[in-house]
């Protein structure tokens, strides 16, 4: 099955935000300005704002970059979220044990 492939500027946006914490913070506050800076069309903006699997598939965003994008688009973690266990915390003591 042939799948859509997003224009490179969509992938470039995600990869740039991954490398630049300042740009990622600005994106969380004002995604429209970030989208405009990468020349996104109205349809592309709408699909990115939805962020659903269906929307991202329609746009053709690389699966791995979808995950990165969703993390970038999520609200900044609050104190409670920062204090929550990490994904491997239940195992780390035993994995680190010699």
């Amino acid at each position: 099955m042939t799948r859509a492939v997003a224009p490179y500027r969509v992938h470039r946006l995600i990869q740039d935000l991954m490398r630049d914490p300042g740009a990622a913070a600005a994106f969380r506050v004002d995604p429209a300005s970030t989208f405009a800076g990468y020349g996104m069309s109205g349809t592309e903006c709408a699909l990115l704002r939805q962020g659903t699997l269906a929307a991202m598939t329609e746009l053709g965003v690389h699966p791995n970059l979808q995950m990165k994008y969703l993390r970038l688009a999520a609200p900044a973690p609050d104190a409670k979220a920062l204090a929550a266990p990490g994904p491997l915390d239940a195992y780390l003591p035993r994995l680190l044990e010699l």
Partner: protein, 278 residues
């Protein structure tokens, strides 16, 4: 001549145990069994092959096959794996890059690389005190044009020949391929697990039938096992390092809560075809 003293294939991450506590505990015990088996090989060096997940190598510069040549590596810290440092082995890695170039493989030499969970989690499982120098090998399974499975197997065979002909006497090398098993990540089939495919892969590898498995096209693996399932090409690299070797399944579990099949195999050096990699 050096020796390949064993090969392992293993999934390369775990997720929180919430709701599947018993199964997660079993899988942790399997990970610790993998560690025990690796240490029983008494390796001087580990070659650890797996995929980068668009962290070091991105769509901006797509790298098919790369070898980490640095003296030391600092892991990325993704997936809940702590940021840690481990020793590489420059002489081994650069030597293999040169050797491989005469075997039809031009490996990208990666000096500045932050290994992500695809390397860092297995490294934590295998060698928690970072006592064994480890050469990371990056086999693209995430970007649009991956290497074909047959090439991964052949690269493993080239590694076997390199160790046998160019490495110091008595050097003991363990080879580990990581990733998989079947999972569909952020695709419409997300959540599906191809248990039959996973079990067939494990059965083929432990029966010494990696060459048959390597005849599959990478697109066919993606179709059968999902975009994440393609990571099994790193297992084929490990199998190539012990041509013809038979082995044993360490475990297999489909884990719906983690939307993936998890498994591991060990291939035994004493069952490999003598000299086939030379």
């Amino acid at each position: 001549m050096g020796r390949i003293v064993g090969a392992l294939g293993m999934s390369h991450i775990m997720f929180p145990p919430t709701g599947i506590e018993e199964q997660a505990e079993r899988i942790l015990s399997h990970m610790l069994e993998i560690r025990r088996r690796l240490h029983a090989m008494r390796p001087d060096l580990i070659v650890l092959a797996g995929a980068d997940h668009l962290n070091t190598f991105t769509l901006a510069m797509q790298v098919t096959l790369a070898i980490g040549v640095s003296d030391r590596f600092t892991t990325l810290g993704d997936g809940g794996v702590p940021v840690r440092e481990f020793a590489g082995h420059r002489a081994f890695a650069e030597g293999f890059a040169r050797f491989a170039s005469r075997r039809g493989f031009e490996l990208v030499q990666a000096e500045e690389v932050r290994p992500d969970h695809g390397t860092a989690f297995p490294k934590l499982v295998l060698d928690p005190d970072n006592a064994i120098p480890t050469v990371p090998l990056f086999i693209n399974a995430a970007m649009p044009v991956p290497p074909q499975p047959s090439r991964c197997l052949a690269l493993g065979e080239a590694l076997a020949a390199y160790v046998a002909t160019e490495r110091p006497a008595d050097e003991r090398v363990a080879v580990v391929g990581t990733g998989g098993l079947s999972h569909w990540l952020r695709l419409p089939d997300e959540g599906r697990i191809a248990e039959d495919f996973d079990r067939a892969v494990i059965a083929a590898l432990v029966a010494g039938e990696a060459p048959r498995l390597a005849q599959m096209d990478s697109d066919a693996i993606i179709e059968a096992a999902g975009n994440g399932g393609l990571e099994v090409i790193a297992w084929l690299f490990a199998a190539g390092a012990l041509p013809g070797a038979r082995g044993e399944a360490i475990y297999y579990e489909p884990v719906p809560a983690w939307i993936t099949g998890m498994g591991a195999v060990e291939l035994f050096a004493e069952t490999a075809a003598a000299g086939k990699g030379d």
